[in-house]
Amino acid sequence: MAFAISTQEPSPLAGPGSPENPPSSTGIDPDEQEVLRGRVADRLGTGNIVLPLLPQVASQVLALTSQPTVDALQLSNLIHRDPALAGQVLRIANSPAYMPSMPIVSLQQAVARLGMQTVTEIVLAASLQSGTFKVPGYEGALKRLWRHGLASGLFAKEIARLLRSNVESAFLCGLLHAVGKPALLQVVADAQRDRHRERGTRGAVPDQALRELLSEFHTGVGLRIATSWALPQPVVNAIAFYASFERAQANRREAAVACLADLFAADFDEPQPTFEAEVRGQPVIGELNLYPEDVAQLLAKRPAVARTVESMTL
């Protein structure tokens, strides 16, 4: 499911299209887009992807933990605002370095079991490992990606609750189903930077071209992240199959929940007047056996989800 990505500043592209070589609907010269696409593919081929972490969250966690009255729930809620950071914290909390007796599956658990100070250290370590990451010109896009992930996680919880499925699992599946996109954003930006150097040009990749690149490559990147974070199998399958749940050999339901959550989150990103009618006709509605009144129940949850997303957005 495509969703809007806006760059923080207007993105004049190098080399406007000529009559012989007009810009495509993506706002970029088709040849140049193909070159960029090839560069992104090459970079992904080398395999070393660093997840983007928002350093502001780490700063806020530090600030929060310096307050004596802060409790574990507040800390975990803060980390929850950033799916990449949350995933990193869980991965590190479950690593041999901390030797948990049982897997730590929630941030609340991480805080309760490891203590606030340790979790704070984990957050800092996660930030340092990834560097103080920035994607100049793409801050808005990054923020929208995180918001989309958070909205997907929250919608997935509501869908799961309606289906009497475990909401904790659904939240992670929704939150991380497109986790490859933020990581890919840096790869695209780096590839574009290289092209600018070669051509003496400047500017960010236009929205539509960026959207296509993220859409094409994010699943593979997401799966690499899932492997490196040792994410649970239902989450891995949600990442792999949310856009084609009918192909899932296992965890088909989780993949379908992530798919529907993604659709609801896309409407949250860019509300469409026809969404209600269109979503009812989606194959995933039949897959999840949602009758008209069930869909109506989910639609009625949108304001509450929107409020939660807004309250958790940095």
């Binding site: 897997p103 929630s106 609340q108 499925s165 475990n166 009758y291 008209p292």
Partner: protein, 463 residues
């Protein structure tokens, strides 16, 4: 008949064990049958949310138990921190294969099946609404309600499917919790409590009764509780729940009526099941659920509306698939004026705890109440060679006979393999065989079935 309605002889609502058997019985009797299923696939909760998924998890737990028992021999130990999904790795395949098989069976028999929600619009007419919202009407001479049940959600317990789970949502947990409180003492509570205990979870089972599974033979249950406690489980009986809360960080806190507070990572609420009658618009059929939310039926599963029958979980306990199947078959035969056949007293009960429990016929108490006297023969599995070979030594088989010790009345078994082993006793009951049959005939050696002979010899000595 409502204008514009499709007509059939028998309309079955629900394709679980009860509905499926009713539909097949009716079509085999030469009637036209329409089957309406609310879910995408046939099979009901039994296939998709209950019996088959939980037994898949049980199989993994039983393997874990065997692995733990033989760990020293093989130099391995069960891995801590296992994903629940990995324990149920074969589930999607098993469910899909079973649903496919059932679907084919329904189609092969010429049953017309539809996917949609059904509701009465008159005593003989059903309106079906599809997922896409399309509506159609069906009218039938006989309407069989087999809509099943869902976990009961007591209003005072905050089931959030995250920390406080029901028997549906517990199967989609990501990881095994370190500790689990199970509310309830029935079949579902006992099965899950023993499964999670076998998987290394610290399980506390809480119920108002002094022991779980009150309807089962006390000796069998005592063996089950012993095994549960050996696996690290705790049973707290004769307690009601003062309150359940999540502490906001990581624990579910359960306050008991005696003031104790039990803390655990997760909770499973298994306090019975609620019949799926809400969407049926029963009033239009001249019916209403009883005080327990169930459809009241007579001995033939017929409701107060003579053309409407109800079978399976929707009529209440025992809520077992085998019983539901038999109810479906017998109800269809009665509705069509056919003989119902043998007594339902020979329907076995199988409980997939660790260890398994199974029962058929009269219990010791029932036999004494009905006949004034009863004799019982026992065989412990550690007295049987196969029990020693296979390491299944904590089992028990009980034969219940009349006061003379001749006539076999019931068979009750606890131990691995009990749900299979009970069928030997079931056949003996159906054939009205004497206890001596087990003494005079030879079973394969070494097998657990030998326990029948050992128990029969024990019984003969008491004559």
């Amino acid at each position: 008949m409502t204008a514009g309605a499709r007509r059939c002889d028998v309309l079955v609502i629900g394709s679980g064990p009860a509905g499926q058997k009713a539909a097949i019985q009716a079509v085999k009797a030469g009637r036209t049958v329409v089957l309406i299923e609310h879910e995408r696939a046939v099979g009901g909760a039994c296939v998709h949310r209950g019996t088959i998924p939980s037994k898949t998890l049980r199989e993994s737990a039983a393997q874990a138990t065997r692995l733990a028992r033989d760990a020293a021999t093989w130099g391995v130990s069960p891995r801590a921190g296992v994903e629940v999904s990995s324990l149920m790795a074969r589930l999607d395949h098993v469910v899909s294969a079973h649903a496919h098989y059932m679907g084919r069976q329904i189609d092969r028999n010429g049953i017309e099946r539809h996917h949609g929600r059904a509701r009465f619009v008159s005593p003989d007419t059903i309106e079906m609404t599809t997922v896409a919202g399309e509506r159609s009407l069906f009218t039938a001479d006989v309407i069989m309600v087999a809509t099943g049940s869902r976990p009961r959600n007591p209003p005072e317990i905050p089931i959030d499917h995250e920390n406080v789970l029901d028997s549906d949502s517990i199967l989609s947990m990501l990881y095994l919790p370190a500790s689990l409180t199970v509310l309830g003492g029935g079949v579902i509570a006992s099965e899950y409590a023993s499964i999670f205990a076998a998987l290394g979870v610290k399980v506390t089972m809480i119920d108002r009764a002094d022991r779980p599974l009150k309807f089962m033979d006390g000796e069998l249950v005592a063996k089950f509780v012993e095994a549960f406690q050996r696996a690290g489980g705790t049973y707290i009986g004769e307690q009601t729940i003062g309150g359940v809360t999540f502490d906001g960080v990581s624990k579910v806190l359960t306050t008991l009526s005696d003031g104790r507070v039990v803390a655990s990572d997760k909770m499973l609420v298994a306090l019975g099941r609620a019949a799926n009658v809400d969407e049926l618009n029963l009033g239009a059929a001249g019916l209403a659920p009883n005080a327990r939310g169930l459809l009241a039926v007579d001995d033939h599963c017929r409701t107060a509306n003579p053309r409407v029958y109800a079978v399976g979980d929707v009529v209440g306990p025992p809520s077992l698939a085998a019983t539901a199947m038999e109810q479906g078959r017998r109800a269809a035969r009665h509705a069509l004026g056919l003989a119902e056949g043998a007594s339902s007293e020979t329907i076995p009960i199988g409980i997939y705890t660790i260890p398994e429990m199974a029962s058929v016929g009269l219990s010791e108490d029932e036999a004494r109440k009905r006949l004034g006297a009863a004799l019982v023969g026992r065989a412990r599995f550690d007295e049987v060679a196969r029990g020693q070979i296979s390491g299944i030594t904590d089992g028990l088989l009980k034969l219940v006979a009349d006061g003379t010790g001749k006539k076999l009345l019931g068979v009750h078994i606890v131990g691995e393999g009990a749900t299979e082993l009970v069928h030997v006793g079931q056949m003996a009951l159906l054939g009205q065989m004497d206890v001596d049959t087990f003494v005079e005939n030879i079973f394969n050696f070494p097998t657990l079935a030998e326990a029948y002979r050992v128990a029969a010899l024990d019984l003969v000595q008491k004559r």
